[in-house]
Symmetry: C2
Subunit: 270 residues, 2 copies
């Protein structure tokens, strides 16, 4: 549960949501009540209020409760609030069509990488990911890109809050090594995740800037090391960087390079 918030009943209602979010199939009232160590009747009052607003649904057959459609509706309103998501959509589709590997769009939220959109590869061997999930920053390509553009203070805060847990043989767990890596990432304008979060998985990531030049988001292309190497890796780096620059240009970021891209004519109509 979150820090003891002002309004008890509202906090409890959202704790119910947290519990339902973990359960794939619905949960029985008893189950929820016992997990919260509260009487059934208390939970019932809260959950029926959630039901009234369609934040929770109850199965007609089993009586079990699960998350309701209103979360989907409101969640999409939030998604529409990210301008970068709308703008990037056709570009990341294009990237998938060209290179055939899974593409992700992410932002940094609460010191973690939040996946806000994706286009999935059609290869049988592909990573499975889910929009709306979070991953640690230090061991993902997109995470390193975003960290590279933080202030030193923010970066220190991130590391002290989240640590640098090892997930694979290659994970950078030493702050100094990570610092050097981030400097390199910033210099070359892209990051590579070389099996740092998951064995056999390689990613190429590049930063997206808004009109004030701040790095607000990142895209990545992910595939198995067997496919993402040599010439294909080089092409991936080139195209991911270019695509990120095109998206930044569309968001109003005007570098010399992106100006040239704009005049030379874009793939997609305004």
């Amino acid at each position: 549960m979150k820090p003891d918030s002002k309004i008890q009943s509202v906090a409890r209602a959202f704790t119910i949501v947290d519990i339902l979010a973990e359960a794939q199939d619905g949960l029985a009232l008893n189950e929820i009540a016992s997990r919260m160590s509260l009487p059934k009747s208390t939970v019932h009052g809260l959950i029926s209020t959630l039901k009234d607003f369609s934040y929770v649904e109850q199965s007609v057959f089993t009586g079990k409760y699960k998350l309701g459609v209103r979360f989907f509706e409101v969640g999409n309103i939030v998604a529409q609030g990210w301008e970068v998501r709308t703008v990037a959509a056709p570009y990341i589709s294009q990237l998938l069509e060209e290179l055939g590997e899974t593409v992700h769009l992410v932002v940094l939220d609460k010191m973690e990488v939040l996946y806000i959109d994706k286009r999935e590869s059609r290869h049988s061997l592909r990573i499975v990911s889910q929009i709306g999930t979070r991953l640690p920053a230090h061991c993902t390509g997109v995470g390193k890109v975003l960290m590279a553009h933080l202030t030193p203070e923010q970066r220190a805060e991130l590391i002290s809050k989240k640590g640098l847990p090892r997930l694979t043989r290659n994970t950078l767990t030493d702050p100094e090594a990570l610092k050097e890596e981030l400097a390199k990432v910033k210099r070359q304008g892209y990051a590579i995740d070389n099996e740092e979060i998951m064995d056999s998985l390689r990613c190429v990531a590049a930063p997206i800037r808004d009109q004030s030049g701040n790095v607000i988001s990142a895209i990545s292309l992910s595939g198995p090391v067997g496919r993402l190497n040599g010439k294909s890796l080089e092409k991936a780096i080139k195209r991911v960087k270019e695509t990120a620059e095109e998206i930044s240009a569309r968001l109003g970021y005007r570098s010399n390079r992106s100006l040239r891209l704009l005049v030379s004519g874009s793939v997609f109509p305004l």
Copy 2:
């Protein structure tokens, strides 16, 4: 506000969410309080609880409140709960690539058509739609498909609850005419929305069945009447029907026809 729900404070919290969902840019505390006719301090308590759980964010600069990322996260969990969405994803992408027009995936929820996924056309002239929004059933292709497979009682309930409001010249507003249209839709296995919700917009829609044969969802292809006519309309009807059948087959629906489709080999790997 919804029917006076059990727990006042929880209901009020969600009313705040409803208000924020309508406002594109954030809202000031004062504004929210006055819209709810409640004292600022009451709203403040509620909203800071929402903030603690990331259901609401507050701008550091303006102090205004807007919906938070947690809605996006939970909304995506709900989205993953629709098996049809996962299964249909590659098929509707394929449909867009082949025909170049916007594709939608919908379900019927509370007597309305709820858009749960889409692939957007790259034509400059295209309909703009948003996932997570609702449209009336009687004047959309997908809506007519879904209505056609309701029981007469459910259909009567839908009409009595929602009415048959006229949106264009072509909207079917007469219950008898609609009944005949739905019989035709059920017979031929697809529906056409011929400028019934919006001028110049034509849609082709077909039903998706689960393994028990119930129609649980529908897909549609939408484009301007200028592009969706003659031969291209015929092709659209053929491909939309086929795609809907392929998706149904993947969901476990075994008709004679879909069995043939499965053995002949599918485009996408299992």
